[in-house]
Each structure stands twice: as structure tokens, then as C-alpha cells.
């Protein structure tokens, strides 16, 4: 059977979302052809603002790359504009291309409205709609000074903010008396304007543009207003509104009125032709935000898949302004009118304004400025048209307050969406169940993963439930939830820089101490916090070995005390047994120590050595002294263990000497600090008794040499190590393993295991630098050896008195008469 042909005009957010939804439902029903006038794949138009603001790059905002089209068998004509639809012969024309269709989907989006004033076609006058516009603005910011943005709506303000951040002198011109009048009332708008002015934007309100005049170079030079005033402008951005892009549909004779008119099934007046997105008018409304467009896409896909059960009934929309550091939320009918009532809270000094519009015991609109935490909840009440009579008195104080007063109103809606029971455990580490998380999100107005971690402890330990917690956030907050992106996220609340930027700065500015870093990077807190300090300390000492100061006070207690703290405040001691090997003498000493210090538990660990658990801190130096064995670093973000199997030394299958190989590796790496812990294993043959397949570096002996595997992980989420390369000699094993680990040490972010680092940066690039490029490999190897030069065993040092204050309690205090305070037994 030949497939039906689906042609999509418009390679944007709505059209491609419809295709994605369709592929989920009926992957084989259609041969799909997509036309896009822009010369790109599908990208996230919303994020053009963060790109302009310099918070993201164009590469970050790609939604579907060319591979996606290929893998899904979609023919993409990018950079091709459809110029004609022949409805009789059922085909579309784009230049000399003719493509027949059985079904046609129009998703042509909007066109920006250019003010019909003289000079609107001068060079330097643009709209703000696509990648080309964004690039033009970035280029203008690099070369010119004065920008004028016409229109103080969402788009205009985001453009102005971005241009300002790029150093331009920006004036926002608006026809009306207050900004964002379609989303905000006057009070909210005034507060917003004040915060934007504080960021350096200038505003000219109630101004009508008369014409744009050219400078000597022929580029735009000034904006002239009806009242005769004139301001300089090297760049003019028109953000005065958008119009549904209906030209193509109209030329094909399709009924259009404020958009291509569609039914609840997203069909136009020609039932073979569908329309979704900003170009479509449904029940008289053309939407300009993605949430409703995605709902349309879903219904449209359902129809195209011939399920025929989906109906689109229109959407409520809510708005957030994407200017970092400014919180604005609005939804529904916020200006009120006949028969409506307002509840208003206005704290000008505190920078908070809230207005709720109510009609007949229903919330119909909300404006929030400064504190938008309850936005999601209000939006939910509004969408569901819930009767708020019973909570009316408390409504203004948000979900938490209102709910404490009337049982569980407000909880039921969100919980229906997810199948998990309230009592189901989400975080196994901290024993947090779903109900607790949902409650915390709503009552405390949590918006981010970090906040949930802080308030409930869920996902704060091993992190394996992170995905679940994010889902709960998303269902609980609805559209108000935006997942954080670790690569752009600041390291912690003390700074706006992310891990990559901090690493880079430490290297390029040659920062050698914690204080130098705080100063050079403008840390917000005088001496950081428990989250950034250990990371900074690691970055300093790994970037500048033998030069940067190691700060013990910035290390977690385990690394400061060189032992693992236990739940009762005692410590565990795991001496190193190179490659898992030990001797009768060592075992005898361990036994003696266990008896002498009354060690409650002696355990064989999963790392092929022995753990003495439950030792008092003040006994640690004595225990180490009596053991006479080096530290096993079982407590550090450091080299942990190199597990080995018996290998060809004894085993009848062994092809290589895995024990001595393991010992050599472990000796080479002794004392190595790393972004997270590092574990190796060496097996003597592919039977792999040392479990090399789940290690950061796994080595497997074969007849002709050694196979190296990297980035395995046996912990929270088991990840099988990936084949890295094959080498022939023991020296090679040392060199390749060292080079891989050194690259990890230099480039990974703190608390990133090798597997996560490799997932982030890609194994190919690492292989190029370590395997293919011998020079780089040798250099990396040498840098690791240099960093480890002169490493001393921390236990040995401490038995000789180093850091003795760490272990010795102070004597009981003396009172003024020189008497010791009575100690109870």
C-alpha cells in the first residue's frame, strides 16, 4: 500500500510539534514533506531572548536537527518558501518545486507588524522574530551605540533587555501610557518599568513615531516623533505586534479572518487542509504563545492519525517575562470590568504587587509582580473555573494559606494528573514520599529542583530520583515550571557563574587561592558556602598543582579528617590494600588494631579491602600509627580502589598479569584528587572477574595486550563502561589511563563522575585527544605525574603531628580561679 502524502508548510514550533505528535501515534501512515522558509532546522523561538541576552547560544536552542528529519524519513526543504497551493490538483508549489499532498498542514506562524512610517525599510530597521533578526541585533550591538525599540510588549522588553546587556544605550518607545498593557495593569506596569529602568533601560511613553530618518551612511540614524522630538537610533527594532501569516492561505481561497479560520479539529474550510499555530484563528482567537499551540498540535495530530477523537476547545494563557531577575506573571482577564471585583495587595517598598480579578466566585484573572510563586496555582484555579467562594478570604495569601484553612482544596486537580499515590516513596535515601513533595511545592511556593531539595531533602543525596522530582514539579506547577539546565546554571547562590566559567577563570586568571577566587569572581558571600567551597578548592588545586593553596577548611569533613564520618559521629578506617592484595602481617595488624581500639565492626568492603567501622575521632591517629598502612582514601573525591582478579599469575584462563598491573596503576594514582571518586579494575581475561565493565577505567587483559574501557559506573545508575582503545604494553596501559584521568581532572565539573562528564562532552573528542594524538596523551600523562609528585600519605603525616588540632579535643575549660569545670563522668 502506498503511503498518503502529508505536506507541512512552516518548519516552526507548532508545525513540527504536530509532526512529532503524529509520529508518536502513527509513524507509518504518511510520507511527510516539510517546507520551511528559514534556512534552519526547527529551533526554540522562545529562547531567542536568552540568546540575545547572551545567556544561551544558538546551538543550545535547536529542537530538531537535520538528523531528526532524516531518521524519521521526513523530506525537509529548508530555505524554501511555498508560494502557491493548488487545491484542485492538491499540490503545493515552491519555486520550481511541486509536491502533491493528500493532507496539507499550514503552520506559517506570524509576521511582525512593521509600522507604516517613512524610513521603515532603511538598513538597521528590523523586527524581532527569527534567528536572522537576533544575529542582526547582536552584530549591531557590537558596532553601534543607540538602539530604539518600538513597542513595550513582551517581545519589545526582552529585545531591549538583551541589547542593553550587550552594551547598547536602549530606549523603549511605546504608544500607550504604560508598558505591557496587554499583560499588565498600570500599577504592575509601573513597578516593572522601575525595575527595568534600574537595569539601565530608558522609556518614552505616549509617543507616536512619525518617521525614521537616515544618517549620512544611509543607515537609519534617528527616530522622529509626532510631537517633533527626535532621538538618535543606529538600530530600530519594531516590536509593535504580530499578524497571523495568512497570505498563502488567502491566495488559495481559504477563509481567513484574524487568521486562517479552523474548527475544533483544526481543519480549515477545506477539510484536507489543517492549520495550527500562530497563523490559525480558532473561535476568533489567534494565539501568540506556545502552550496553546502545542495543545493544537496534539489535537491536529490525533486527527491526522485518523483517530478522530481529539477536540481543541481553546486555551487559557498565562504570561511570564523572561528577563532574568524580574518576576512578572499574568493570566486571564486582569483588568476586570462590569460585574467583576478586585482583590489587591500592593507593597511598593517590598516590590510586590498582586491583583486578583473575581467574577461570581470564580477567579478570572491575575497579575503578580515581584512574588509570582502562586502564579501556577492561580492559573490552575482559573483554568479549571473552580468555585473559590470558600477560600476567597485567603485567596490572596496563596495556596499554602488558603489550604491550611479549608482542607485540601487545590490539591485534587494536580494529583489526578499523575498516577502515583501520595504515600509512594520518591526518594529512597531520605524517605520522602510524593505527598510530602507536592505539599512542599505548593505550600512553600517552590519552583525549582534546588528548592525542593532544600525543603524536603528529596533528591538531595544520591540524586537518582531527580527525574521523578522534576516530573512532580512539572505536574504540580504546570506551565510555570522551567527545568534548569545544569550547563548554564550558576554554581550556587553565591555566584552567577557556572562551573565551566569558574574553571575557565581560575585557569586564565591564574587564581591560586580561595580568597583570590572570591575576589576576582565577585562572589556574593564573603566566604562562599558548603557547596561552592569544596568545588572551588578542587578547581584551584587541580589547575595549579604545587602552586595553589589547598584549604582544608573548604573540604568536607571526610577529606579533612581522612576518614569517613558515620551516622553516630564516629569514623571508619579503610587502609589501602594495593590491588586488593594483603599479607599475613597486615591482617595481623588489622586484627590487633580492631581489638586494641574496640572496633565494633570489621567488614570486607565491596572494594576488595577491609573497613574498620566505629572509631572515635581522637583515636584515628593512633589507629593509623598501629596499622602502619597507607590511607585507602575511601573518604575522598579521589582515587579509591583498583580492583583486580588473580590473572595469569594463578588463574588457568588468565592471559595477563592483572594483579601486578592493578598494583602499578594504583601506585601511580595514589593521592590523586579528582572531581568525583575514581575507581579502576583490572581483569586478566574477558571473563572479567574484577568487574572492569563498570569502572571509571576498566582494563581487560587479552592474549595480544590490554583493552581499555572508560566511564563505567556501578553506583546509583549502572552504566556499562565504553570501549576506549586497545594497547599492547603495560607502559601503554599506564599512559593511556593516566591521560584519560588527567583530562577528566582538568575539565570535568566538581561532583561529575567520569560517566557524566563523558556523556556531557562526548567520548569522540576525548578519544581524539587521548588516543589519536600521541603528543597530547604524553603531555596529559606528564601533567598527572607532575601533580602527584611528592605526594605523601596523609595518614603517615598525621601520625607525625600534622593537623593535630583536627583530632585532639581541647582540655576542659578553666574557670577564673584556674579550676577545671567539673566534668561529669
Amino acid at each position: 500500500m502506498t503511503k498518503q502524502k502529508l505536506v507541512v508548510v512552516g518548519n516552526g514550533m507548532a508545525g513540527i510539534r504536530a509532526v512529532e505528535e503524529l509520529l508518536k501515534l502513527a509513524p507509518d501512515l504518511y510520507d511527510i514533506t516539510v517546507f520551511g522558509a528559514e534556512p534552519h532546522g526547527n529551533y526554540n523561538r522562545i529562547l531567542l531572548s536568552p540568546v540575545l541576552a547572551g545567556e544561551m547560544t544558538l546551538a543550545d536552542i535547536v529542537l530538531n536537527d537535520l538528523d531528526w528529519y532524516k531518521t524519521n524519513g521526513i523530506t525537509l526543504h529548508s530555505g524554501k518558501k511555498v508560494t502557491k497551493i493548488d487545491r484542485v490538483k492538491r499540490k503545493v508549489l515552491a519555486g520550481d518545486l511541486e509536491v502533491p499532498y493528500d493532507r496539507l498542514l499550514l503552520a506559517t506562524g506570524s509576521t511582525p507588524f512593521m509600522l507604516p512610517v517613512a524610513g521603515n525599510d532603511l538598513p538597521g530597521v528590523i523586527a524581532y522574530r527569527d534567528i536572522a533578526d537576533t544575529e542582526a541585533m547582536i552584530a549591531a550591538a557590537a558596532n553601534y551605540t543607540h538602539a530604539v525599540v518600538i513597542g513595550a510588549g513582551l517581545l519589545g522588553l526582552e529585545a531591549a533587555n538583551g541589547l542593553r546587556l550587550r552594551g547598547m544605550d536602549v530606549t523603549v518607545v511605546h504608544l500607550l501610557d504604560w508598558i505591557m498593557e496587554r499583560q499588565l495593569d498600570k500599577t504592575g506596569a509601573d513597578m516593572l518599568q522601575a525595575s527595568l529602568e534600574a537595569k539601565g533601560l530608558k522609556f518614552l511613553l505616549g509617543k507616536q513615531t512619525e518617521m525614521l530618518t537616515a544618517s549620512a551612511s544611509g543607515r537609519v540614524g534617528a527616530v522622529r516623533f509626532k510631537d517633533g522630538a527626535e532621538i538618535p537610533a543606529d538600530l530600530v527594532v519594531m516590536a509593535a505586534g504580530i499578524r497571523p501569516n495568512t497570505a498563502l492561505a488567502e491566495s488559495a481561497g481559504l477563509h481567513c479572518h484574524r487568521g486562517i479560520v479552523v474548527s475544533d479539529t483544526l481543519q480549515t474550510f477545506d477539510p484536507k487542509i489543517y492549520a495550527v499555530g500562530e497563523c490559525a484563528a480558532h473561535r476568533g482567537t489567534a494565539y501568540g504563545l506556545v502552550a496553546p499551540l502545542f495543545e493544537q498540535a496534539k489535537v491536529c495530530a490525533n486527527q491526522l492519525a485518523q483517530h478522530g477523537i481529539g477536540r481543541y476547545q481553546g486555551s487559557f494563557t498565562s504570561t511570564k517575562l523572561k528577563v532574568t531577575g524580574i518576576d512578572v506573571f499574568s493570566a486571564g482577564n486582569f483588568s476586570g470590568g462590569d460585574g467583576t471585583e478586585d482583590i489587591v495587595l500592593h507593597d511598593r517598598n517590598g516590590g510586590v504587587y498582586k491583583r486578583l480579578v473575581i467574577e461570581k466566585d470564580k477567579l478570572i484573572g491575575a497579575v503578580l509582580y515581584g512574588d509570582t510563586a502562586d502564579g501556577g496555582w492561580y492559573f490552575q484555579l482559573l483554568k479549571e473555573g473552580r468555585d473559590i467562594g470558600a477560600i476567597r478570604d485567603h485567596l490572596m495569601f496563596g495556596d499554602a494559606f488558603a489550604n491550611n484553612h479549608v482542607g485540601d482544596v487545590g490539591h485534587s486537580g494536580a494529583l489526578k494528573t499523575a498516577a502515583m499515590a501520595d504515600t509512594a516513596e520518591v526518594c529512597g535515601c531520605n524517605g520522602v514520599c510524593k505527598g510530602t513533595i507536592v505539599k512542599a511545592i505548593r505550600e512553600k511556593g517552590l519552583f525549582s529542583l534546588d528548592e525542593v531539595r532544600k525543603h524536603t531533602k528529596a533528591s538531595s543525596s544520591c540524586g537518582s530520583c531527580t527525574g521523578l522530582v522534576e516530573q512532580i514539579l512539572a505536574t504540580t506547577l504546570g506551565g510555570a515550571y522551567q527545568a534548569a539546565d545544569r550547563s548554564t546554571k550558576p554554581m550556587c547562590g553565591c555566584t552567577d557563574f557556572n562551573h565551566g566559567e569558574v574553571r575557565h577563570a581560575i585557569r586564565s586568571m591564574k587564581l591560586l587561592s580561595m580568597d583570590a577566587a572570591f575576589k576576582a569572581l565577585d562572589w556574593r558571600t564573603p566566604d562562599g558556602c558548603a557547596s561552592c567551597r569544596p568545588a572551588l578548592n578542587y578547581y584551584l588545586i587541580s589547575t595549579w598543582p604545587h602552586e595553589a593553596e589547598d584549604d582544608p577548611q573548604s573540604r568536607f569533613i571526610n577529606e579533612r579528617a581522612h576518614a569517613n564520618i558515620q551516622k553516630d559521629g564516629s569514623y571508619s578506617v579503610v587502609p589501602r590494600m594495593w590491588g586488593g592484595l594483603t599479607t599475613p602481617d597486615e591482617l595481623r595488624r588489622i586484627a590487633d588494631v580492631a581489638e586494641k581500639y574496640h572496633v565494633p565492626t570489621v567488614k570486607v568492603t565491596g572494594g576488595q579491602r577491609i573497613d574498620l567501622l566505629g572509631i572515635r575521632k581522637e583515636d584515628l591517629p593512633g589507629v593509623w600509627q598501629d596499622l602502619g598502612m597507607p590511607s585507602g582514601h575511601a573518604y575522598g573525591k579521589s582515587i579509591r580502589t583498583v580492583k583486580t582478579c588473580v590473572g595469569s599469575e594463578h588463574c588457568r584462563f588468565g592471559t595477563q598479569k592483572s594483579m601486578s598491573m592493578g598494583v602499578e596503576l594504583e601506585k601511580m594514582l595514589f593521592g590523586m584528587w579528582s572531581p568525583h571518586k575514581v575507581k579502576l579494575a583490572v581483569s586478566g581475561c574477558p571473563r572479567n572477574c574484577a568487574e572492569a565493565g563498570i569502572k571509571d577505567v576498566g582494563v581487560i587483559g587479552v592474549d595480544s595486550g590490554w583493552e581499555l574501557y572508560v566511564a563505567g559506573n556501578g553506583g546509583i545508575k549502572t552504566e556499562v563502561a565504553q570501549f576506549f582503545c586497545k594497547v599492547s604494553t603495560r607502559e601503554d596501559v599506564l599512559e593511556y589511563a593516566a591521560a584519560f584521568l588527567q583530562l577528566y581532572r582538568e575539565e570535568a565539573w566538581y561532583l561529575e563522575r567520569t560517566v557524566h562528564w563523558v556523556q556531557r562532552v562526548g567520548l569522540d573528542g576525548i578519544r581524539q585527544r587521548v588516543v589519536d594524538d600521541a603528543e597530547q596523551r604524553k603531555a596529559l600523562h606528564q601533567r598527572l605525574l607532575y601533580a602527584l609528585q611528592g605526594v605523601v600519605d596523609p595518614w603517615l603525616e598525621r601520625t607525625q603531628g600534622v593537623a593535630s588540632h583536627e583530632f585532639a579535643p581541647l582540655p576542659a575549660p578553666l574557670d577564673t580561679n584556674g579550676e577545671r569545670h567539673a566534668e561529669l563522668a
Binding site: D527, S554, I557, I565, L810
Partner: protein
């Protein structure tokens, strides 16, 4: 009347660190912040009793090593969102000597 007891010299406490002083069978943690302010709290975290002395000191706060609660050094109060309080003691630094009011 404060009942001052001499504990140690200031430099015996590491900067951004702490020492433990025995007291009636229940240790007291004496902290020295980066600005040389000295604080004393009973060495028992208001969460689950973890040893605050073993935490990371930043500003006038300490982060408990057990589950990461932050505790204000001057009041012993847990920082929001957590609730609870560790007992605090008055401290005095005179001529480089640290005193506790016991």
C-alpha cells in the same frame, strides 16, 4: 553574672573552623569565622544530632556534615527552611584568649 571559662588561644582554632571542648559530658563546638568572630554551640545538630563542629563554616553559619542543614552561629537557629535550635553559649575574646560563659 557571666561565668567566664578560659578555653584556648584564638589561633588554636582554625580560621573558618572549630574545636571541640568537653563540657558536662556533652561537647561544645567553638567556631572561629573568617572575620575572627568566635561562637559556641552545643555540638549537637538540631536535625538529628550530627556534630556541627565537623561542618563547613561560611560567613556566620555552619553546614552540618550529616544532611547539610545550615545553622546560624550566633543564635544556634537552623536557617530556613529548616526549624530547630542548637544551644548557644556566650563567648569572649580578650588578649587573644577565648572564653566561654558556662
Amino acid at each position: 553574672m557571666p561565668n567566664w571559662h578560659k578555653v584556648c588561644r584564638l589561633e588554636e582554632i582554625p580560621l573558618r573552623g572549630s574545636r571541640v571542648v568537653p563540657h558536662e559530658g556533652r561537647p561544645i563546638a567553638v567556631f572561629r569565622a573568617a572575620d575572627d568572630h568566635v561562637f559556641a554551640l552545643r555540638d549537637i545538630c538540631p536535625h538529628k544530632g550530627g556534630p556541627l563542629s565537623q561542618g563547613i563554616v561560611h560567613g556566620h553559619r555552619v553546614t552540618c556534615p550529616m544532611h547539610g542543614w545550615n545553622v546560624e552561629l550566633d543564635s544556634g537557629e537552623a536557617c530556613a527552611p529548616d526549624h530547630g535550635c542548637a544551644r548557644r553559649y556566650d563567648t569572649l575574646v580578650e588578649d587573644g584568649e577565648v572564653f566561654l560563659d558556662l
